[in-house]
């Protein structure tokens, strides 16, 4: 019962923090400045504020959280392979489910951002590409799970694939950045050089998002446990 109260308070706190981050991002942080605005003689009058950069304050926390949750897929995968206990498989599965949710949200917010910044719905930019690959890896994880019936084998294979997919994701990120792509030489303007209040809004959003991730994970975990208990009760009733 204590766990449930903790989870609920984390959820509420996460909601409050992300809302605070949201309000800070829009009403208090200075905008990130884009290209210079010049007059006829070429004197710089000022810089065009990038309102679309506001997506950053949610996009990046979600992206970072998704990666952190994906770490738990691999972590519980390792734990499962070490102990062969079913609970770790369940945990890994739920962590992957939360990862799927978060990578899809990262992609959705990222796509809207690129649409405005570069005028195209999709750009093969390192970060977006990495997340696209991550989405596919997570989907592959569930395809693999669904195509195995034997419970222990399913858990083992899923653990192995979860670990190897988690190793693959940062490699994918590194390689997409380093390999020169002739098609779209693009540089993201976000990240780095955040001023105080921008950093604060970002960090508050990040912590809020992590708490929400924690709450989702444990709510889903509780659902699985209740589900297992239900099956046990049903079996007892029939038997």
């Amino acid at each position: 019962m204590n766990r449930n109260i903790l989870v609920l308070s984390m959820l509420v706190l996460g909601g409050v923090l992300t809302t605070v981050g949201f309000i800070m991002a829009f009403f208090f942080t200075p905008p990130v400045l884009g290209p210079a605005v010049t007059n006829e003689v070429g004197r710089i009058l000022g810089y065009q504020p990038l309102f679309s950069q506001k997506i950053f304050y949610f996009h990046v926390p979600v992206a970072l959280s998704s990666f952190l949750v994906f770490f738990f897929t691999a972590f519980y995968g390792v734990r499962f392979l070490m102990t062969k206990e079913k609970q770790y498989d369940t945990r890994a599965k739920i962590a992957t489910e939360v990862t799927l949710m978060f990578v899809i949200l990262t992609m959705a917010t990222g796509i809207l951002w690129t649409r405005f910044e570069w005028g195209r719905w999709w750009v093969w930019e390192p970060r977006l590409t990495t997340y696209f690959i991550m989405t596919l890896l997570v989907i592959a994880y569930f395809v693999l799970r669904n195509s195995i019936e034997d419970e222990e084998r399913r858990a083992t294979y899923a653990a192995v694939f979860g670990i190897i997919a988690f190793i693959d994701a940062p490699i994918s990120f590194a390689i997409t950045r380093i390999i020169p792509s002739s098609v779209h030489p693009v540089v993201l303007r976000s990240g780095g050089g955040l001023t105080g209040s921008q950093l604060a809004a970002f960090l508050i959003g990040l912590f809020g998002m992590l708490m929400i991730a924690y709450a989702i994970f444990h709510t889903r975990m509780r659902e699985e446990l209740v589900h297992d208990r239900l099956e046990a009760v049903k079996a007892a009733l029939e038997g």
Binding site: I133, L144, Y157, A159, V160, I164, I171, I175, I178, I179
Partner: protein, 237 residues
């Protein structure tokens, strides 16, 4: 004692590899199916490029086309190689025998690597003959083989692990595709970049080639180590 064990492992390794190669020499099944598949891919390329006009130089996308062919043929080969093991009960027999699991992994991976390399060696001249008649090859002669080898090592190493999983699922080759493509994405990107630098040449191509090679080497080292370590769990389940 350790030396003796190593000697035994080496003998077992050779025995498994030997079995795969002898079976292939007898049936020629893998090479024919993979080779034909590669050849058919060339036909599809012709269709794909048929409307691209005379100004279009296929050299610009040659590296990508080549690796595309290798990806699909290697998936076919990997699936077949492990399906054989399973259908004939070889894998179970191997598991019952006191063979070290890592030995099984390396023997199967090297076998797959050899088949993939043979297919690559056969495909390249055909591809060059069909698509690269005009224009010349810009890089040093050893660049292409080196890039092919680095890519093939990663494909067959991780591919062996994935194929061992996928043959034990309901989806089989479909599951292999779904697992294989996103995992291989970084390797393929580096492989195409290195191969492309070798084919096209130009400013900075040597540097681009070595960057790609370095990335592939890194991928191969990390992913092979991971596959090697995890293989034991896969065959045990």
């Amino acid at each position: 004692m350790a030396g003796e064990a190593r000697g035994l492992s080496l003998r077992q390794f050779k025995a498994i590899l030997h079995k795969d190669i002898v079976m292939e020499l007898r049936t020629k099944e893998m090479i024919t199916s993979m080779g034909l598949y590669a050849l058919l891919t060339m036909v599809i390329y012709q269709v794909a490029l048929s409307q691209s006009g005379t100004a279009f130089d296929p050299r610009n996308i040659a590296a990508g086309l080549l690796w595309l062919a290798f990806v699909f043929t290697s998936m076919l080969g990997l699936n077949r190689s492990l399906v054989h093991e399973k259908d004939q009960g070889c894998l179970e027999a191997l598991l019952l025998s006191p063979v070290d699991r890592p030995v099984i992994f390396f023997a199967k991976a090297i076998g797959n690597l050899i088949f993939l390399l043979i297919v690559q060696v056969l495909t390249i001249p055909v591809f060059a003959f069909l698509f690269l008649q005009q224009g010349s090859y810009a890089g040093e002669w050893w660049m292409i083989p080196l890039a092919l080898l680095a890519g093939a090592i990663g494909i067959s190493g991780v591919g062996t692990l994935l194929a061992t999983m996928s043959v034990n699922t309901k989806g089989k080759d479909f599951v292999l595709t779904v697992l294989f493509v996103p995992l291989m994405y970084p390797l393929l990107l580096a492989a195409v970049s290195a191969t492309s630098a070798a084919v096209l040449g130009g400013d900075g191509s040597v540097q681009q080639f070595w960057t790609g090679m370095g990335m592939m080497a890194g991928f191969d080292a990390i992913m092979l180590l991971a596959s090697f370590a995890l293989y034991e769990f896969i065959v045990g389940a």
